[in-house]
């Protein structure tokens, strides 16, 4: 009775506090559930934009340096520009940030949107809470619209953080005339980011109504990353060009507000796509059975790969689809890069200045080989992906405890130490799988142009060493503290490593800081030049992490 009275009161006299209070409305609950992620993502984007603009302005602090930079960028062949944007006004701080990072920030926000909007109803349906919510005296349309509104609010908050950081950076960090970033430019960039994120999330949201969360995330993620890569490489690989304009990355490729170039009309189709996808998702949810989706036919694993023989085999079988997916993604990316190496070499030979610059950066190496090209364009990004893959593989294993499966497993004659060691073995096996699949992709790409297979293929295993090290840290965290913290911690470490790799050289910070990043210790593996220190450190972290995990897990309570 008290609840219904409270509900009636909140409906008859709506106010901001009443709407937002999590116990009183669906939107309030949505905002409450998203509050930590909103703070983290907003803060991350804010800091990255402030840092990156400051780094660019500090690194290139004279007109001469800016001109050299612009000349260098203009001289780069399209393949080297890769996933960067169009090089317009790169002699300005905003123009360079737009060129170098303009397409990266939407990826961060879009990933969050995909994960959030695909799970907003699917996760509730899976755990059963949607049954209760839908049984409340609230229409389904209102439930889903409040959920969407909550997500739009948090994306808006993150976009406001982007707007503020860009505007502040333009006012504070600029060193030379032209470095100012107008409020209009900041707004235009923030709006673009927000809309692109909502488009990606909207696609996942609409698809997950029909296919369930997993396929929704997979397809929306593939469309997003595919659009990003196609748009980035369409200049270098003309065969990609027809497909590049199929996504919002292509539609908005001429909207470069930080470089002072606006293409406002290009945002209209993005906005329309958002509305259309939201409408499809809402109407599908209103009309369909709750908790029922159509299964996407996927091949089942052969029985021997399902892993029923023991804990290591089961953990391996459980994570195998994830490892294969990462391997395929990384392999296709490596294949495209490797297969483009000839075009790169041909172009570089027509540009002696660029060749000379590359030789200065990588002295004593054959940077014009396939291996050199992969080292230049694949390896660093590959490390980030390997770290994220490690996070998901650790999550697949640690999920045994968070889901409650471990409660039954550890009631069998399975010692805790054996469970953790089996997990370590399984994760190591899964890392081998995704690295081997990625290496096959690179081998195919390299073979297509008749390159030397040895260096690139063996070099791919450096990604495995990196992933194994971070996985070891994840296992240690799961063992000592909480399983639910393991995967996020590995993902954060990966992003932190990327941050150090990016910021330290730009800010000319002491090399000691850069040495803290494990990624700085592998040498040039795609060229066959290995730094043993990195491999040893990886081995110590991998094995030591499992040992710490065994020690910690033997001493704490099992969480139910």
């Amino acid at each position: 009775m008290a609840t219904s009275l409270r509900l009636r009161r909140s409906r008859s006299a709506p106010n901001v506090r009443g709407v937002v209070h999590y116990a009183r409305s669906v939107i309030g609950k949505t905002l409450r559930d998203s509050r930590r992620t909103t703070i983290i993502v907003s803060a991350l984007l804010f800091l990255l934009l402030i840092s990156v603009t400051a780094a660019v302005a500090n690194e290139f602090d004279t007109p001469t340096k800016r001109k050299s930079l612009a000349d260098l960028v203009a001289g780069l062949p399209p393949i080297l520009q890769g996933l960067a944007g169009k090089p317009i006004n790169v002699e300005t701080m905003g123009g360079y940030v737009q060129y170098k990072y303009g397409t990266f920030f939407p990826i961060v926000l879009s990933l969050w949107s995909i994960l959030a909007l695909s799970s907003t109803l699917a996760s509730e349906a899976k755990r059963g809470s949607l049954e209760f919510v839908a049984a409340a005296p609230i229409s389904r349309r209102r439930i889903v619209l409040e959920k969407l509104s909550g997500h739009i609010v948090v994306i808006t908050i993150a976009s406001v953080a982007v707007f503020l950081s860009t505007a502040i950076a333009g006012a504070v960090n600029g060193k030379l005339p032209g470095d100012e970033i107008s409020v209009t430019a900041a707004f235009a960039y923030a709006l673009q980011l927000g809309l692109m994120a909502l488009a990606a999330g909207g696609l996942a949201f609409a698809l997950s109504q029909f296919l369930g969360r997993g396929p929704g995330v997979a397809i929306a993620g593939a469309v997003m990353f595919g659009g990003w890569i196609l748009n980035g490489y369409q200049g270098a690989v003309p065969v990609l060009a027809p497909f590049a304009n199929l996504t919002w990355f292509g539609w908005t490729s001429n909207h470069l507000p930080l470089a002072g170039v606006y293409d406002w009309p290009s945002l209209i189709p993005v906005a329309l796509a958002v509305v259309l996808l939201f409408v499809i998702g809402v109407e599908a949810f209103v009309r369909r059975d709750i908790g029922t989706t159509s299964a996407v036919p996927t091949p089942s694993l052969p029985r021997f790969l399902v892993g029923l023989g023991g804990p290591a085999a089961r953990s391996f079988g459980n994570g195998l689809p994830t490892a294969l997916a990462w391997g395929l993604g990384l392999g296709i990316y490596g294949l495209v890069i490797a297969a483009s190496a000839t075009a790169f070499t041909d172009l570089i030979q027509t540009s002696p200045d660029v060749a000379r610059m590359l030789q200065q950066v990588f002295p004593g190496t054959d940077i014009l080989s396939v291996g050199g090209f992969l080292q230049l364009l694949f390896f660093q990004f590959g490390l980030i992906l390997a770290g994220l893959a490690a996070a998901t593989l650790v999550g697949s294993w640690s999920g045994h405890e968070t889901s409650g499966r471990l409660e039954m497993l550890l009631a069998t004659p399975l010692a805790r130490a054996r469970w953790v060691m089996s997990g370590g073995v399984a994760i190591a096996g899964l890392i081998v799988v995704f690295v081997v699949v990625a290496a096959i992709g690179i081998a195919i790409g390299t073979a297509m142009i008749g390159g030397d297979l040895g260096g690139p293929v063996v070099g791919t295993f450096a990604l495995g060493a990196f992933a194994a090290a971070f996985a070891g840290i994840g296992v240690a965290i799961a063992g000592v503290s909480r399983s639910s913290w393991a995967a996020p911690a590995v993902a954060l470490l990966t992003i932190g490593t990327w941050f150090v790799d990016t910021i330290v050289p730009a800010f000319k910070l002491p090399d000691l800081v850069h040495q803290l990043a494990l990624s700085a210790h592998y040498g040039l593996p795609m060229l066959g030049q290995w730094d043993v220190a990195g491999l040893v450190a990886s081995g110590v972290l991998a094995v030591g992490g499992v040992a710490v995990g065994v020690w910690g897990f033997g001493r704490r309570d099992l969480r139910s």
């Binding site: 023989g309 089961r314 409650g404 409660e407 039954m408 069998t412 004659p413 309570d557 099992l558 139910s560």
Partner: protein
């Protein structure tokens, strides 16, 4: 009599939250032991501590004479466990799930496994995520039973099972008992404890408040007696009898509550011309609620 489970001052605290306090318990070989208590009383905490899933804050527990924190694997080798809430592998079929746990243990009799699958009426070819709640519970039961463990620890085992399958479950438990195996059954459904158990322990707010035989526990409860007289109701003659309380009279009907033996009431009633004598035997549920100081229908 060999003690299979023995706890001494077993305590588990979760900081500010109450867990269990000074639990002293003994479960003997071959008996079915009911562990009763309302939600949040500490049943699951006790079980998880016995399994070494939780480490005791103080006190100790032994199973098969082995201290739970010293060699849990040796204990787990001989037990079958069904948690109150559990999750398994969504993408595996029921049959694969059962096989996996059989492989983890080793030595499972395939014929007995197949018999359980048949008796509990489960389709092992369907994926776990496609099962109803009841069918998931059946898979959990088979996982717990298939290796014929010396000790069964079952937390709310009939949750989600339809009445027919519940009957099959009770049969299986009776068979286990007949084979000399021990059953530790936690529940808040008193009917199932009443049907299957020899002894019962009641836990409330983390404290063990009663351990006794099922029959003795029932005897502890009051009887609701209703006497219909042909003449006037002799209220005074009954209200002073030992164990009698809550005496009310309504024309020719006398209602009273009797704690302990009902014999004094029967003797006194024999002195009068009676039209009817009704003594309702209390259910275990009423006993349980009386132990908690509540009556049926009152909110917890």
């Amino acid at each position: 009599m060999t003690a299979i489970i023995q706890t001494e001052k077993l305590t588990k605290s979760y900081g500010e939250h109450r867990g269990i306090i000074d639990i002293d318990l003994q479960v003997n070989e071959g008996e079915a032991f009911g562990f009763l208590g309302p939600n949040g009383a500490g049943k699951t905490t006790t079980i998880r501590t016995l399994l070494d899933h939780l480490r005791p804050t103080s006190g100790r527990a032994t199973i098969f004479g082995i201290e739970t924190t010293v060699d849990p694997v040796a204990i787990h080798r001989r037990i079958g466990y069904l948690p109150g809430e559990f999750a398994l592998y969504d993408k595996l079929t029921g049959g694969q799930t059962i096989d996996y746990f059989a492989n983890l243990r080793g030595g499972v009799d395939a014929a007995y496994q197949a018999d359980l699958i048949r008796r509990l009426d489960i389709d092992p070819s369907r994926k776990f995520k496609e099962y109803s709640k009841g069918n998931k519970q059946k898979v959990g039961l088979i996982v717990a039973l298939q290796h014929r463990p010396d000790l069964l620890i079952l937390d709310e085992p009939t949750s989600g099972l339809d009445p027919l399958v519940q009957q099959t479950f009770f049969e299986v438990i009776r068979e286990a008992k007949a084979e000399g195996r021990t059953v530790f059954l936690s529940s808040h459904i008193l009917g199932e404890v009443e049907k299957t158990c020899d002894r019962v322990a009641i836990i409330r707010d983390g404290l063990l408040v009663k351990v006794d035989r099922v029959e003795a526990l029932r005897d502890l409860a009051h009887h609701q007696v209703e006497l219909r007289f042909s003449g006037e109701v002799p209220v005074a003659a009954f209200s002073g009898l030992p164990g009698v309380s809550d005496v009310t009279a309504d024309e020719h009907v006398l209602r009273l509550r009797v704690s302990g033996s009902i014999t004094p009431v029967v003797r006194e009633a024999a002195r009068y011309e009676l039209l009817d004598f009704v003594s309702r035997e209390p259910s275990l549920e009423e006993t349980f609620l009386a132990e908690y100081g509540r009556t049926a229908g009152q909110p917890a």
